[in-house]
Amino acid sequence: MNAYLADVAVLARKDLRLELRARSTVPAMLLFVVAALVVFHFALPSDSSELAANGMLWVAIVFTALLGLTRAFVAEREQRLIDGLLLAPCDRSAIWLAKTLSVLGFLVIAEVIALPAFALFFSGIDGATVAGVALADLGICAVGTVLAAMAVAGRARELLLPLLFLPLAIPIVVGGVGASVAGEPARYLGFLALYDAVFAIISWASFEYVVTE
């Protein structure tokens, strides 16, 4: 168990160090999420309610995550890094867990900027929204990492990931928007936690088959 966690830590550190040196993903995500919020401000009519703005926050989060996920396996595929990872004497699911954690880290950094920006541009956010965002992040990264690994295997690559990811993201958006706007957010948060648990297990179990050729 400890050896497994050590593998995960090493692999995640590799991704974070790559990002720290190349700075290819996180700045793009930050810029994208702020730009998206500005676009949404102009997309919403001036007399629309705060509830509509809450929906926009979720659209921004899902698409920002998509941007990060698109980049997640680029080095693995282009530099054939994946071959080295597969040869390494570690469980394949450790690769998934490490990649999920690093993508989660990038997404959380983007949201640390995005949530205050949203509060500034639109309306204040409450604790339920923050809890919803945190739970949704887990699900987005768990599912998204497997789908990103699938998408880079194909010819279409960047084109494919949104098509695979968005139908699976619909329940996340339902739960997240519910947590933001409903008076009783507990059941929506519970639903998000259920989604996270179910899809984390199936992603963890199936990742090996996705990367093995």
Binding site: V143, M150, A156, P167, I170, V174, V210, E213
Partner: protein, 228 residues
């Protein structure tokens, strides 16, 4: 008799499907009573069996996908693909019949509060992406694995989406089944069961025919490559 059946499974299945379909249509229009909604309620006997059949196809495709991953069975990948293909066709028919029914029942072609329709829209999008995934990959063991994993994600997505849609919408979908059993007359239930059997048999027959064609194609390609 049994030898004949074994040698002619597909024609037998197709014949059974045709007979059941004729019986179902006869029962729907001459036996099942017209209830308070009027004649438009008859589409129930098509719409709901088609929807159940689509679920069965998706489930069957996921099961075959599981066999690909678990046992590495050759041929299971093709079976999974054909089952999901059938599922998408039946799913599209569910959307069309549901939309027609909604127009006659509620006067609109689409309503977001009809949770089965919304679910089928989500599933339709999800499984359409299955084809995009499949055709962006080179044929081979990796494609088999990826498609199988995606098919498994699908059967997990079905209950999760249903739960999500239930949470999201105040639904006006008529509840035909609940924990007290079917909420309809015995004659209606019998008709419904025949219609369901007919749809499942139809899907099974189409599945077998499609599979035969695909296998023939693959065999032909192999032979051509041997000749070339």
């Amino acid at each position: 008799m049994s030898t004949w059946l074994r040698n002619n499974q597909v024609p037998a299945l197709a014949g059974l499907a045709a007979a059941l379909l004729c019986a179902a249509i006869a029962l729907i229009f001459f036996y099942a009573p017209v209830d308070e909604d009027g004649l438009n309620q008859k589409i129930f006997y098509f719409h709901v069996p088609i929807a159940f059949t689509a679920y069965a196809c998706f489930g069957w495709g996921a099961w075959k996908g599981l066999l690909v991953l678990w046992k590495g069975r050759p041929g299971a990948d093709l079976e999974s693909y054909v089952a999901i293909h059938q599922g998408v066709i039946f799913g599209a028919m569910t959307l069309i019949t549901g939309s027609l029914w909604a127009k006659f029942r509620w006067g609109v072609w689409w309503t977001w509060s009809e949770r089965q329709l919304v679910l089928f829209l989500v599933l339709f999008l999800f499984y359409s992406a299955y084809f995009m995934l499949r055709y962006s990959l080179e044929p081979g063991p990796q494609r088999e694995n990826l498609c199988a994993v995606y098919a498994l994600f699908g059967v997990v997505l079905i209950p999760i989406s249903l739960l999500a849609i239930r949470l999201a919408e105040n639904y006006i979908h008529p509840v035909a089944f609940n924990k007290h059993g079917p909420q309809m007359a015995t004659s209606q239930f019998a008709t419904f069961m025949v219609a369901l059997a007919a749809m499942v048999a139809l899907a099974g027959a189409l599945y077998r025919v499609e599979l035969l064609g695909k296998r023939l194609d693959a065999r032909l390609r192999e032979l051509r490559e041997l000749l070339a």
